[in-house]
Amino acid sequence: MPKHDTPLLDQLESGPWPSFVTDLKRMAKKKDQCWDILGQLELSFKDKITHWKHGGIVGVFGYGGGVIGRYSDSPAKFPGVAHFHTVRLNQPSSKYYSTEILRKICDMWEKRGSGMTNMHGSTGDLVLLGTTTDQLEPIFWDATHELKMDLGGSGGNLRTPSCCLGKSRCEWACYDTQAACHNITMTYQDELHRPAFPYKFKTKFSGCPNDCVAAIARSDMAVIGNWRDSIRIDQAAVKSYMKGDFPSNGGAHAGRDWGPFDIQKEVIDLCPTGCMWMEGDKLKIDNSECTRCMHCINVMPRALRPGKDQGATILFGAKAPILDGAQIATMVVPFIKMDLENEFAEYKEIIEKAWDWWMEHGKNRERIGESIQRIGLPAFLAIMEITPIPQHIREPRSNPYVFWKDEEVEGGFERSVAEFRKKHKM
């Protein structure tokens, strides 16, 4: 028997897209709390406003993150969700699971929580939605002992790193994103679980400039696969594309008749740097002009591949608008090697240097991108001991307001006004 009437939500049970309402109702037969989720959500649909109270700090002993407190503002009406906290579990790199582990997670969550989840949260964690305070320690126990899974991050700490599926199923990955994500997560467990930063810090790993995990938009430190030598070309495959033997873009446009494939129009003319041309029936690339945008490779995956000298580009400071407006990440280190053999030493040196500075100088609730804006990119580069190069900018500054330093100007800033007045009377 439904515990609450849900005339508005019921309307979301029709239509071809999977319905979370139908799913919630199914779960409600087993877990009474789900009726109260439905009831409270229905009330929100009616009132057009949330019925969750603000915040509330809860957690497991010794950790500063991983659990987000949540309380209903109408506990009398919806006792099942009076307290209804979120637990973040740290997902395995790129979210492959055996059904065995998933079923264990399901059993644990059916026993100790609402049975509802987010697969996954936007940051990457496996999100378990809705449990009571007294269940938190038992959940942590079960997670670590039986599932061998740890909590993810929340609060002013390293947020759970995430990565694209990389070399496991993508031909374009320029480094092993999964190994990097795993290694970095393991190395910085303390930073992940015990808040010590001014605010959140996200790092994400994409294998190539297509950036499937949106690292450039969503992470304080983005690691995007890249190469520095020449695009590999299989001229025979180029010819096959021109003859129409292979579908362009791996068949991504198959749903519409766009006419026969035209290498000039679809590849050469769309290259943003204009560095490609045909010489007879051979495709030529002036690789020194290429900005490695991936377009030609995306269109002809069987003919073109990233070069062999592979690594990653590091960018800093992406964030959503709060507080200071949105930022896309700024390119800081053009290329590093991402080697498993040396445990990603180059990456670690960079992240630790950035953290050391930010922990000391970042203001409360200031993302590192905002700190960098505040002190300026030249100052950040100096802190990171990186030589400024034209690659750091889209264009040089157009205002002449340069912050020269005392030591940079002949004779320094200190002068005698008395000496000045000897020659220049008021």
Partner: protein, 375 residues
């Protein structure tokens, strides 16, 4: 065994980190790790990857509501157990993927998904894939709109674009239910964003008890919150704050720091539509989404205004853009004045930036197009 509240620290395990990913690879993935040569999309929602060893991996991609029960997860597991070596994965955009190692295994897998009824196959190539989104009214305290409900309504309407690949390029739709943008909608082709439009109220009864006033004051990026005396419901004077409404841009940051400053409101809250963002570096550089519709009302359960606005933009783009052109690239090629004209979206002062660095977005040339906007 199990947790013992009498002895909370006994046998405690901490900082073990995530499970190692490689143990969950299907055999064909494990064997061909790093050896993939190329891929093809053999039909919407079905990818074929070919390795230099000659091995093939077929992936079936299934749309998923993201907010799902353990029962639904077990349904996925049943299919994976029966058809896909007991392994599955989730994509960054909350789809589910099953992988098999031969073409022959694809059809039975597709049939099993079809039989379930809530496992649509699609989301590849030049189409619309799953909408990344946030919590909304179902589980967050700051939203200006719902998330799962709006997404369900929009995806029902765009469903045909999920199961086909007839757009000029991929279109990424994202939703965030407040300006915090947990869903990172600020770089999506079409972004649905919950927005507040009324300044915070001040609860003088609770503010001294639940808020650090200096934190609430410094939380405001515009300095709109200042210390002030307030009168509580008993008529007593208390230390509190005042808000300069003219300065407020309704970001909700004060509420994040101070629960006694709620700003959510049934009439004030609603949805803004932003378009033209992208993340990939392909051809043009990553771009922010730009606000083209400043406000649409919250109209649960199906948000018809929002659904119509998204569909209209998507279909106008689909008709007009060139092959490979993303929404933002198209809008820049034709010019934003044409974008508004072609999409038949009324232009208002709200789409002219007046926040920090606004000047970067103003037109500083005599180059513009004559559209119906010039009277």
């Amino acid at each position: 065994m199990g947790y013992d509240p009498e002895n909370p620290m006994k046998d405690r395990i901490t900082d073990i980190g995530p499970q190692h990913y490689a143990q969950y690879f299907p055999p064909v993935i494990k064997k061909n790790f790093g050896k993939w040569l190329y891929h093809e999309i053999i039909q919407p929602g079905v990818l074929k990857h070919v390795s230099e060893t000659g091995d093939e991996c077929y992936t079936v991609r299934v749309g998923c509501a993201r907010l799902i029960s353990v029962m639904m997860i077990r349904d996925y597991c049943d299919i994976a157990d029966k058809h896909a070596d007991g392994v599955m994965r989730y994509t960054t955009r909350n789809n589910v993927e099953f992988m098999v190692d031969s073409a022959a295994k694809v059809k039975p897998l597709l049939d099993a998904c079809a039989k379930h009824g809530s496992m649509p196959v699609g989301g590849t190539g030049a189409g619309v894939t799953n909408i990344v989104h946030t919590q909304g009214w179902v589980h967050c305290h700051t939203p200006a709109t719902d998330a799962s409900g709006v997404v369900k309504a929009v995806m029902d309407e765009l469903f045909d674009y999920f199961t086909s690949m007839k757009l000029p390029a991929q279109v990424r739709v994202a939703l965030a239910c407040c300006l915090n943008m947990c869903g990172a909608v600020h770089c999506s082709d079409i972004a649905i964003l919950g927005v507040h439009r009324k300044p915070p109220m001040i609860d003088h009864d609770t503010i001294t008890a639940v808020c650090e006033l200096p934190l609430a004051i410094s939380a405001c990026p515009l300095g709109a919150v200042k210390p002030a005396k307030g009168i509580n419901s008993k008529g007593e004077e208390v230390k509190s704050v005042a808000v300069n409404n003219d300065r407020c841009m309704f970001c909700g940051n004060c509420y994040t720091m101070c629960p006694a400053m709620p700003l959510a409101d049934p009439d004030g809250d609603g949805i803004a539509i932003l378009v033209g963002g992208k993340i990939s570096n392909s051809r043009s550089t990553p771009k922010f989404s730009k606000m083209v519709i400043p406000f649409l009302p919250n109209t649960p359960p199906r948000w018809p205004e929002t659904v119509a606005a998204v569909k209209n933009i998507l279909e106008t783009y689909a008709k007009d853009a060139k092959k490979y052109e993303r929404v933002g690239e198209w809008a820049e090629r034709i010019g934003w004045e044409k974008f508004f004209e072609k999409c038949n979206i009324p232009f208002t002062d709200k789409s002219i930036d007046d926040y920090r660095l606004a000047y970067d977005t103003w037109r500083t040339t005599t180059q513009f197009k004559y559209t119906s906007h010039i009277k």
